[in-house]
Symmetry: C3
Subunit: 272 residues, 3 copies
């Protein structure tokens, strides 16, 4: 999947661009590829920041998980464990990165796309119509993973996160800004990456070691608990039991149907 992910290096930071048409859906290999791209930047000592963005034609950051990985008839306990580990290692890797991290979000940012952006240090989003961000799993009949919810709690507070998560809501850019779900809006698509780079240039001026150690102090305990939970509970038999629940199978099956029919429309697809 490495062909879908490209990394450009600038002075002090890199831009990771994800472009797997049509919606940047993340299966196991994609999570592994994004994680590998991040690690490649981290191992370059001249790099102190990274911007994650979408290279898709349509205005979609990423639609999140490929539903086939969550649809019991198409996977197995073993494959599910591998998928869950890849996904969690990538997200925890972003959240705990020594780098300054920014998500530059153009348009739709549901579910797993929202999770990726919540793991960054800052989130910029286009203000334009059609954009929306949120962990909308409940609306699709699937539980929000415990630590995805936890990251949203960190970013916007417990009560606001509960309200969004339990109603399966995605919110448009202005509401996202008010909630603190994103840090800044840009009026025009063309300004998204330049503004992200401007902010990143400021961030990488700071002493990187002190910044990284402070970030580790703020997030380390959470990330350790997250990975531990993901590798034991979520990737284990209890996690798999969750997706073999008949209601979940029906919900995910229906969502796959809906998405395969609507695949040609202009409307961004809400996957997981």
């Amino acid at each position: 999947m490495a062909q879908f992910i490209s990394t450009q290096k600038r002075q002090g930071y890199a831009i990771i661009s994800i472009a797997k048409e049509p919606v940047n859906s993340f299966d196991t290999a994609m999570w592994q590829a994004l994680h590998a791209a991040l690690q490649a930047v981290e191992t370059d000592s001249s790099m102190r920041g990274v911007i994650i963005t979408s290279g898709l034609q349509r205005d979609i950051f990423t639609a999140g998980n490929d539903l086939k990985e969550l649809y019991a008839p198409l996977t197995s306990a073993q494959q599910y464990a591998i998928f869950w580990e890849a996904q969690s290692r990538c997200l925890v890797g972003i959240h705990s990165s020594r780098l300054a991290t920014a998500a530059a979000i153009r348009g739709a940012c549901p579910a797993g796309g929202c999770a990726i952006s919540l793991c960054c240090d800052m989130r910029l989003m286009t203000a334009g119509a059609g954009g929306a961000i949120g962990l909308n799993e409940v609306a699709l009949g699937i539980p929000v993973p415990k630590y995805w919810a936890g990251v949203m709690v960190q970013v916007i507070g417990h009560a606001a996160a509960e309200r969004l998560l339990l109603s399966g809501s995605m919110v448009p850019p202005k509401a996202a800004l008010q909630l603190g779900l994103v840090d800044e809006l840009v009026d025009d698509k063309a300004q998204l990456l330049p503004r992200a780079e401007e902010l990143m240039q400021q961030a990488v001026k700071l002493p990187g070691g002190a910044r990284a150690a402070t970030k580790a102090g703020l997030r380390g305990d959470f990330d350790e608990a997250w990975l531990q939970y993901a590798l034991t509970w979520e990737a284990g038999p209890r996690g798999f039991a969750r997706i073999t629940d008949p209601n979940t199978v029906a919900s995910v099956g229906a969502a796959i149907q809906r998405l395969s029919k609507g695949g040609g429309k202009k409307q961004p697809q809400s996957k997981l």
Copy 2:
């Protein structure tokens, strides 16, 4: 005490109405009865939500704990442990319920009444004069139970909760809305239940299993720690020692005196 609690079932949700004149005070039997009423709704698989409201004549949600259960001369270590367990199992039961939960609050909502409403997923309140909500224990000379404080921290954040709790404050409806202590106000008493039902009808449309699992992810660790602490520390000798402290005995005794004198007044009573 079951005679004081009535449950009406609607399409997909129930309304639990509490009406023990004059102020819905909660002794052991009342906590057990409310818990039993909740569990009866939960075991009905057609039910996906519950609204808790007051059926009192006066504008009082509930005045909270019956002070006799907290007044050392009128109780015993054994009775106190039973009381504490009943109260905590009911509150944790509400907080961890698989159901969508709403508190529909008319008027005064002090102490234990505030605790019940904080354990719900959403809180609606009448905007009218005379209403107020808060964990006002400190003003009465009694500590706020640790996990009651913790639930308020989840709902309005640490700093705002500390400010309210350490000053023993109750806040009027508009201030409560601004703080996030309630989610919405209704102008008129007559709109309270209709609006709560409207919101509940939206909530129960969502896939119940995914909603409940997401809620468990957000609250499960907290609820487990709460029940553990309540059953060991609070219901144990250290918890009882707290209410046998002479200052606390004097404070609670004085509050009982005040309330028994003022029992006939229209003014809502702030019990615990």
Copy 3:
């Protein structure tokens, strides 16, 4: 160092004034002296509150740690452990005090000064120009101590704290008020202490035992973890390894140079 700290007792509360010219820098002895002054107030059962303020000529609350304690060439693993213990016992002592606590902040409040004020129950600040507050360690190339960051998270929330801390920012009074980093501003220096005393008089009217027990419920677990971490990790070999890191030695050395040159200027100094 006791000569730099004076305590005045009023009806029900005390005022601790810190005046070690030019910038109230805290070395080991100063942390011990402030802690001792606090404990002296706590052991007086007539005392229910304390205001901490600066008695300096210039508008500085305190510049925080004396950098010599953090500069590896001028200290040793043994001395660093003693310093770290003194500092942490003082800060945890303030944060967990049975007393109502207020910081009355005139002017600059960087780093350790900000940590002291965050450990109080309330923070008042002069609105005047030149004032600023924040844990600006990252800007100086030093990590923010884990539990200092944690206290800021409690006061202003996780996301806002991360933004400030990772950018090493100090914010002016109005922005601090909006963030909740301080609770109230006073227009004029002359109003600072009178207003702090006014608020303290309200706080000490409340039943002290109930207030203290509620505060312990809100902060106790955090404080226990803080002290444990400080005495093992921070004061131990891993903590010392952090300040012997060549980048940190260079950053701290440069800061000491800068401060010793600028010591005569009117501009408040940002130490740690």
